[in-house]
């Protein structure tokens, strides 16, 4: 089986989708001729022509707005926002338009678009290239929100997202583009070419939206994570010698609640992780769901380990990032209670 980085897997997903369905179009800032600042769309314009893969003006509002119009026509745009940090000018179009079009038109018009954007920190990107805005989208009825953690999933989830009849926010943890990052910034990262999840099938396959996956089976404590934090959790559990069950949520909306409750009812303990800020973060939703559905099984309070409630800093990146030390402390605290 071929080996791919997450970038190559994402590119392969778009290639497969464009090859199978002429309605799929790809565009965004620097996406056409150059192939994207992260190279995710490299070669697609050459292969499918300028009318199906092209550069746009620097207008996130415009990119999403025209994608909605195209979807109303019958196309399936898969568009790139260069960094998740840049999506805010398009927020009205996403929240008030894309998310509600099916509902408000009683199904006359639908919005099968995918909005891809690199998310998360760990690259010294400062406050404008490091944010994790997933909770701004999980709060919106009508959207689906996906965060892959490895190349194999990224490809299957992206194809599933493109084929989905509703708008999907597809957040790509940019720190995972080239290898699984466990938060130890001072150690080398294993490239995807040496990792089993770097084995990615050519051609078409999907990973269904709304299904979590257990990354590490365990019995002591359930860890709910997605994106980069999956690897941080694995490192922390290993270093602390804690038999954690690590669940990679993969899709935040709709959420695989069955997988979460099955695990927490087994372990009786739960730690929730994300890079995004704490207050009103997606972890709050997870913690609430766990107590609603597993209260009588819980042996300890649900712990949250997240980014601090500050803008994402530059020099202090590794003090901000919820690395293995902080996660390990939370695991230990959950075990001690």
């Amino acid at each position: 089986m071929p080996r791919m980085t997450m970038i190559e897997a994402i590119r392969s997903a778009m290639d497969v989708a464009m090859g199978r369905d002429e309605a799929v179009v790809v565009f965004g800032e620097d996406v056409g001729y150059f192939g994207g600042v992260f190279r995710c769309t490299a070669g697609l314009q050459q292969k499918y022509g300028r009318s199906r893969c092209f550069d746009t003006p620097i207008s996130e509002l415009g990119i999403v707005g025209v994608a909605i119009g195209m979807a109303a026509y019958g196309l399936k745009p898969c568009i790139e926002i260069q960094f998740a940090d840049y999506v805010y000018p398009a927020y009205d179009q996403i929240v008030s338009e894309a998310a509600r079009l099916r509902y408000r038109s009683a199904g006359q018009f639908t919005c099968p678009i995918v909005i891809r954007m690199p998310t998360g920190g760990g690259i010294f990107g400062g406050q404008t290239h490091s944010q994790s805005p997933e909770a701004l989208f999980t709060h919106v009825s009508g959207l689906k929100v996906v965060v892959p953690s490895n190349p194999r999933d990224a490809k299957g989830l992206l194809i599933a997202a493109i084929e989905d009849p509703d708008p999907v926010i597809f957040l790509e943890p940019k720190r995972l583009y080239n290898g699984p990052f466990d938060g130890h910034h001072d150690r080398p990262v294993t490239p995807w070419s040496k990792h089993p999840a770097g084995e990615v099938a050519d051609g078409h396959y999907t990973v269904p939206l709304g299904k979590a996956e257990i990354r590490r089976a365990g019995s002591a404590v359930t860890v709910l994570a997605y994106g980069t934090m999956v690897y941080v959790a694995q490192a922390a559990a290993e270093e602390r010698g804690i038999d954690a069950e690590i669940i990679d949520l993969r899709t935040l909306l709709p959420l695989d609640l069955d997988a979460i409750t099955a695990s927490v009812k087994k372990t009786g303990r739960c730690v929730v992780l994300h890079e995004a800020t704490l207050t009103s973060g997606f972890g709050a939703e997870l913690a609430a769901l766990v107590q609603e559905h597993c209260f009588w099984h819980l042996e300890a309070p649900v712990q949250r380990v997240t980014g601090w409630d500050t803008p994402y800093p530059h020099a202090q990146e590794w003090d901000y990032f919820p690395g293995p030390r902080r996660v390990g402390e939370a695991l230990a605290a959950a075990m001690e209670a």
Binding site: V25, R52, L61, G62, G65, G69, E97, A106, L257, D258
Partner: protein
Amino acid sequence: MDERPRLSLNVPEPEVRPGDTPDSSRVVIPRAGTVPRPPVDVDPKEIRDLAYSIIRVLDREGEAVGPWAGTLTDEEVAAGLRHMMTLRAFDARMVTAQRQGKTSFYMQHMGEEAVSCAFRMALEDGDMNFPTYRQAGLLIAGGYPMVDMMNQIFSNEADPLKGRQLPIMYSAKDHGFFSISGNLGTQFVQAVGWAMASAIRNDHRISVGWIGDGSTAESDFHAALVFASTYRAPVVLNIVNNQWAISTFQGIARGGSGTFAARGLGFGVPALRVDGNDYLAVHAVAKWAVERARRNLGPTLIEHVTYRVGAHSTSDDPSAYRPKTESDAWPLGDPVIRLTNHLIRCGIWSEERHKQAEAEVMDTVIAAQKEAERHGTLHAGGKPSVRDMFEGVYAEMPPHLRR
């Protein structure tokens, strides 16, 4: 001590406020028939003047004059008059229905009927409008059933939108009418996207965007023009300048540029101003712009100069911010009266015939209303189910909505 002049903020004000006497003498209105009609493949640079003038066909005597005249037969013009009369009667009944508590909200078109009614007649079936909340003439002139409009307004059991949308936020895909958002400006750039898609698929269909004078200040307007210009999208972009954005006069959104149409010039988009109260002029300009789009010559920006005679909505009282007599002083007159006078002058209409038509139109509207009310009104009779509230958020209901 600093001798330089102190800075001060410029906040534009309309020339008159409640209690003042409206003065329309400062509004520069060219005589009908005086603005040239360029070929549709004209270089936009050669028609920059059209962004500052006003294309008019109907003169004071009701004669259709000049190079923009003659795009419709007498029968088509008579049908156009009936569309406008129907829209006016529809509005009158629905404003009353709102006051009677049969619905929560309504927005009327008084004074602006020509814009959407005439524009619709320049389009083909299959084209797509991305309207604001004041283009119901697109539906009336396009033959959409009035009873379905009313079912939507009453949010009753037969509401095509299942009670989910604010009254008059229609959606009618089969009639080329995109779902109205109510979030101002968002549809303008979506219209460009629809047109780009049609071009990507080498189709023949075009799209039409609509926006108000106030909402041109939204970023969506500028994004729409950039994308339309860059990709030469087959779209007609309409600004309906009815002088008032709720209580805010058009000078607040227009700023220092002479006209709203002139915004198109910097984008290299042909920009035309048209007398929005002149049914024949609106149709002629629409036809010109639609042909440009259809021939793959790219987008056109049109400013329809009109006046919002009524309140912004049933929640608004214009006497608080503009003179009550301002609409009477509006120099472009009333679109229904102007077209009526034209048809009388052509000898195919009469005062008597007009009175008869008014009665017929009102009967049709009342009959539709009776039928709609049989399906219920907002607080009485049949209504959409609670299930309708949960369905349609997604194609397939996700587990968290099923629980």
